[in-house]
Symmetry: none
Subunit: 424 residues, 2 copies
């Protein structure tokens, strides 16, 4: 981008966005694409299908930005107003492109519907000097138009599949040539488990102020991520810029870092068990299948995962896992003693190298003073019959599904740490 | 809202949104809430963690709107700048609220982590006359502040669960009292299963053009919803406006409608089984625990759900579910014969009124010409030993987790239909 660059903005157009009927996934996707192209994108706006409001926001954007990407409002219905509003923003008229109408008729010639297509004709009108963005997945084309000096608008339909294809086939090359300088952004994300966001952020205060690479923390339920982003001319240069920071972080946090980029706790665990040619089974009570499905949602899990017993009722803890009624009565289903026996018995019964058992109170009911909602016991039985018992009390503000998800994360991360320490 | 009303805006703050790292689900959720409150919401903006840019956009919004809802940037790290930037927008200083710091320390007192919490102190600083929005699910409070006449800002954290709880506990009442006119929107959503969005939309074409109530279709993976929204002075009036449309839809779609509003397929099934005092167990192969966890994610599931056997490997189909090696070799694990035996055996073994077994190829690997990825067998065994067998072939464009989710929906909806037809 030239030195007097003002940046890029995204404008999403559609009343359904303001009503909350749909989630704006287009903005996220385009943002990601702009990041990869190294463009300085600093603002997004959303307005409804209202001509005056669209005009107002476009005029504002034209004063502070070089490039505007719009999505939505290119279709044939009366509330599709984008092209019209853009033209009006700069006092320009629309003219029909007859070849576009021929193309639309061609596209619909083998359609099954017996409909009147004349309303689609509206989609053939554009400002005189606009360049057309062909839409291979639909009937509404977009445009590339520079209505005033140093301000270009690219329009896309709101349908994600159409928008993405048009972006990839036409827009990327145009934007690269006209707006990218020779630099792009490359990111590498480190993923953490067993440590809170505030602790991570506190320990890397200095890194958060870096300019190239930048380091940014994100937190999700039970997971903290640090994204290291380099601005560079190519991947090799970017990796070199990222490397020292990444090494510093790996040294500082060592085993708290479970993976990078697309790694997840289940995918890392599957990889580690596969490497060792080891298998795993589960006995789940309070997580009721969530631990099993966290593994089986990943392709390749059948290499290591043999199966589970979901013993939700005490009756099944007894009949399927051989937990004596005596033990269940004496300690209760949510106890270290029962959980440990569940792990040992499921491992022996199902025949695997590793077993994880979990029993707890996910709430909102069933808690007592002594055993509150959020109390969870986890037992891990390993190949040498070594048992690891873990007791967790999750914050009382946590809801049922959060307690279940956090419990699954603790199971997966605890076994990961055991595998790592065993292999040393 | 008063007659000189200028409307409501949403501002999302966070560089991760501009980088495309996360999807902005908060804006959608808040939009939905504002619609329900009948507020005139006409614009959304997103900016990064940059103080000057946040100030600029807040000053702009303060000139054209009455009410601004912000999300994000309330946390403890240096790039959490929202409160500071809002104060600077109106040349106001921040002051510490000592009781908030006490509350934060209290919240963290039974945490397991041995951490330094001092950076959280930043979250206790607010403009002098701001009202605090308590955050029961996290440590960062929000505020309600009227920095200038006829312009109020409400701030929320970016973490969706925290934002939603704060909205429901504090914001709704404030907004209703101060900003809603005597009309509100009331919605009633009908939920469909076993029917596609285009079929639903085609059949109700005329209803989609209604003005009060309005009818809007939404589709998610395996689920179609129709939202009927009335503008009315009170709930009774709204219900009367909604009633005739709702009755028409119920007549037209009858058993395709599985519930309303917050109902889910698992919650409806739990309710139906509870009503009948019946229990259920599962034998899962390709869904690997997802069917079980769909039930156990709901409080009260222990009333009807006893447990499951996740027999992911053929070995466990044999040892835990008594499927003979002969049968497994002859028909294959993914076959009607094996699936039916899984259902019968798990029902007998675990002792329940109902059993569902599921076996299929979730992919992306493991498919053959004869048994492609997406092929799923489901068997439902009932109290009278009646067996229902279902064969599904999901579209080849579906990914693994979609096939698993759609399979679970078919299981739940099929049993729901069986229960309904039995009770007639």
């Amino acid at each position: 981008m030239s030195s007097n660059s003002k940046g890029v903005e995204i404008l999403s157009i559609g009343t359904e966005l303001l009503l909350g009927n749909i989630i704006n996934t287009n903005s996220q996707w385009i943002s990601e694409q702009l990041s990869q192209l190294g463009l300085n994108h600093f603002r997004q706006s959303t307005v409804g299908d209202n001509c005056d409001r669209i005009i107002k926001v476009i005029q504002e954007i034209s004063k502070r930005s070089n490039l505007l990407i719009t999505t939505g409002g290119l279709g044939p219905t009366p509330d599709d107003l984008t092209t019209e509003a853009i033209a009006k923003s700069f006092n320009v008229s629309l003219f029909e492109r007859p070849h576009l109408w021929d193309e639309i008729k061609q596209k619909l010639s083998n359609s099954n519907f017996q409909e009147d297509f004349s309303i689609l004709r509206k989609q053939c009108f554009f400002p005189k000097n606009a360049q057309i963005i062909n839409n291979p997945r639909g009937t509404a084309p977009g445009m590339i138009w520079e209505p005033i000096k140093d301000f270009t608008i690219l329009t896309f339909p709101g349908v994600p599949s159409e928008m993405k294809t048009m972006w990839e086939e036409t827009a990327v090359e145009f934007i690269k040539t006209k707006f990218s300088d020779s630099y792009s952004f490359f990111s590498n994300t480190l993923k953490f488990a067993g440590i809170g966001e505030s602790t991570v952020a506190e320990k890397i205060k200095d890194l958060l102020n870096l300019k190239n690479p930048t380091v940014a923390p994100y937190a999700n339920l039970g997971e903290v991520k640090l994204r290291i982003t380099a601005r560079a001319k190519n991947v090799v240069e970017a990796k070199n810029i990222i490397k020292p920071v990444k090494e510093k972080l790996k040294k500082e946090f060592s085993k708290f870092i479970f993976g990078e980029d697309n790694d997840t706790l289940p995918s890392v665990l599957i990889k580690e068990l596969s490497k060792r040619n080891q298998t795993i089974v589960f006995a789940e009570s309070c997580t009721g299948g969530l631990l099993s499905s966290s593994l089986t949602s990943i392709s390749g899990s059948s290499q290591v995962f043999k199966g589970s017993i979901i013993s939700y009722s005490n009756e099944l803890k007894n009949s399927l896992l051989n937990i004596s009624e005596n033990k269940l009565n004496k300690y209760g289903a949510v106890s270290e003693e029962v959980c440990e026996a569940m792990a040992i018995n499921v491992k022996n019964r199902l025949g695997a190298d590793w077993a994880i058992a979990i029993s707890g109170i996910a709430g909102p009911n069933g808690g007592t003073q002594e055993k509150p909602v959020g109390l969870v016991f986890i037992s891990i039985a390993g190949p040498t019959n070594h048992i690891t018992n873990i007791k967790k009390i999750f914050n009382s503000t946590r809801i049922r599904t959060e307690i279940q998800t956090l419990s699954v994360n603790v199971c997966l991360n605890s076994l990961r740490l055991i595998l790592l320490s065993n292999s040393k």
